[in-house]
């Protein structure tokens, strides 16, 4: 079968390419139904990655947050018509210690291989997770982003040195919203504080115990542990504030991606005996945990629906750039894409 792959060939320029796929391969054919756009996709689209990275990786199909419908499964794992979340990391080896998303050999769709902007996507059966009936597919389109929060929280549970009575989340974007929401429900005894830069964004976080604006944080305020969901240019000031306000031997979960080197107050990091845990992406177990968590917590689904900023439909290739441009103009929420190309 000739599969259409919609690749970014240069910043802001997509082209359709064609690739032969076999229906007799041991892969599950999935028709993507809903995508959501991630900041990482935008860094490729706008050409913010450095030139060497772009010339090495492009042309490449973008998008790694997606749900779809199984249309053919020669492996017998899924019924045709099953709605699934697509797991973008594709490990090529197993390791007893290093999780799949940290293995250097793992491929990642829309980073080291084509993303999900294709007519059909062919996936190994264990790179799909079935969705439960009634799950809102527009919201489920960003399951991958939720699984990143879920992954960080699982790592935190394993690696924090003492239980949390106060948890600070720095960053009022989509990842900060999901992380706060998950923490509030997974640690009901703990107080969850949001550290926000923007008043209008913080208003969406109705479920946190307290919102602090980063330029008005009381000097004596402390948190037991911190989740950094800022990234970019804001990373440095976020880490500075976290290190200032975290309790000794606290754990900092670092989630925000920065293209730039970030200076850290290592003196205080050392003096306080802090742990800093890097978190990137997620693995199958985090997807499974996320879907299970959503099924068990219907009210969380309702909060997550408020994160759907807009739903745009792609009918033809020229719509792709329009929607990426629309997303760039959006200050809050996820741009969800209905894939009808």
């Amino acid at each position: 079968m000739i599969n259409q792959v919609y690749r970014l060939v240069n910043p802001r320029h997509f082209e359709v390419h064609y690739k032969d796929e076999s229906l007799s391969s041991p892969l599950v054919a999935v028709r993507p139904t809903y995508f959501s756009i991630c900041a990482a996709d935008q860094r490729y689209y706008t050409g913010k990655r450095n030139k060497e990275v772009l010339s090495k990786k492009l042309p490449m199909a973008l998008i790694h947050e997606a749900v779809g419908e199984v249309v053919h499964d020669p492996t017998g794992h899924y019924k045709v018509g099953t709605h699934v979340a697509l797991i973008p990391d594709d490990p090529t080896e197993e390791n007893p210690v290093i999780e799949e998303n940290y293995l250097r050999s793992t491929r990642f769709h829309s980073s080291s291989c084509d993303g999900f902007m294709q007519d059909y996507v062919f996936m190994k059966p264990n790179r799909l997770v079935s969705l439960f009936d009634g799950l809102d597919l527009e919201m489920a389109s960003f399951t991958e982003l939720m699984s990143v929060s879920m992954h960080a929280i699982r790592q935190f549970k394993r690696r924090a040195l003492y239980p949390a009575s106060t948890l600070g989340v720095w960053g009022d974007g989509n990842l900060g919203f999901i992380t706060c929401l998950f923490l509030k429900n997974l640690f009901p005894e703990a107080k969850v504080y949001l550290f926000s830069k923007h008043n209008d964004k913080a208003e969406h976080f109705s479920f946190v115990d307290r919102i602090y604006y980063i330029d008005h944080v009381p000097d004596d305020l402390t948190v037991d542990h911190a989740f950094e969901c800022v990234g970019g240019y804001g990373s440095e000031s976020a880490f500075e504030q976290i290190i200032d306000h975290i309790e000794p031997m606290g754990t900092i979960m670092a989630l925000g991606v920065s293209e730039y080197p970030v200076a850290l107050n290592t003196r205080m990091l050392l003096e306080k005996g802090l742990s800093m845990i890097g978190c990137s992406r997620s693995g199958r177990v985090d997807f499974v945990n996320t879907i299970h968590f959503l099924e068990e917590h219907p009210h969380v689904q309702e909060y997550l629906k408020t994160l759907v900023g807009s739903v745009q439909t792609i009918h033809e290739i020229s719509d792709i750039s329009k929607i990426f441009e629309h997303d760039l103009m959006t200050s809050w929420g996820k741009t969800v894409v209905k894939w009808q190309i």
Binding site: M1, Q4, E21, K56, H72, C113
Partner: protein
């Protein structure tokens, strides 16, 4: 019921050696018709997919489908007719004989030598045929269309913005198509090579589905070269 009907009527031409009909020629090491059948198989709305092919190529068609895809229960290989419309009707006769035809049943007919079609094109054909009964897939004409009655002088140059190029699929409410076809005289049947035109002449409104410029028909070696070029174009990472 929703039927797919893939038209594979090419017989090949005798030029010293018997050549393979174009639908069986290899594109990226796979017969063109297999690419097309696979795209239809990925749409589970089809209750049955019928491949219509000349009698002498029925075994061959079945063999390569088994070889490249496997045994597929919802596929049938049916002997074609003397021309394109007769072949479409042979597929419909098969439906009438095996299942029977209901008022709402539709058939999505497609050239076996257009392997580049997309999920959207198939979906829109199904959705719109269920709603509007007759559907043609087209793209806007990019070249100016010249009409010449005698092949030597221009008789008309139609306004380009109103011109489209026909592709496939063409999709029909089965009963409507059969009624329209049966009302034609034998002479009319000989002249009307396009199934949509049969319905048009009977006063039926025909809706358009947007095709794709890459949904090309592979009919001559030049087309095959283009198709190979598309597939072997710049690869992704």
């Amino acid at each position: 019921m929703i039927y797919g009907e893939i038209l594979a009527g090419g017989k090949g031409t005798r030029m010293g050696n018997v050549q393979l009909p174009k639908q069986f020629m290899l594109l990226d090491n796979k017969p063109i018709i297999i690419h097309t059948v696979e795209k239809f198989l990925l749409n589970d709305r089809f209750d049955k997919i019928i491949v219509v092919t000349p009698k002498e190529w029925m075994n061959y068609t079945e063999d390569i489908i088994t070889k490249f895809i496997g045994k597929i229960e919802k596929m049938a290989i049916v002997e074609g007719g003397s021309d394109r419309n007769e072949s479409i009707m042979k597929g419909i006769e098969y439906i009438e004989e095996t299942v029977g035809v209901n008022d709402d049943d539709i058939v999505v007919t497609h050239d076996s030598v257009r392997p580049f079609l997309t999920h959207r094109i198939i979906e829109e054909n199904i959705d719109m045929a269920l709603k509007y009964k007759v559907i043609d897939t087209v793209i806007s004409a990019t070249d100016t269309i010249i009409q010449s009655e005698d092949g030597e002088t221009i008789s008309d140059i139609p306004i380009r913005s109103t011109m489209y190029q026909g592709q496939t699929p063409q999709s029909f409410n089965i009963k409507l198509l059969v009624d329209s076809y049966q009302s034609l005289t034998n002479e009319e049947k000989g002249i009307l090579t396009d199934a949509c035109k049969i319905c048009l002449l009977k006063g039926q409104t025909i809706r358009l589905v947007r095709g794709e410029s890459f949904n090309i028909k592979i009919t001559v070696p030049y087309d095959l070269k283009i198709a190979e070029g598309l597939l072997k174009g710049e690869s992704g990472k």
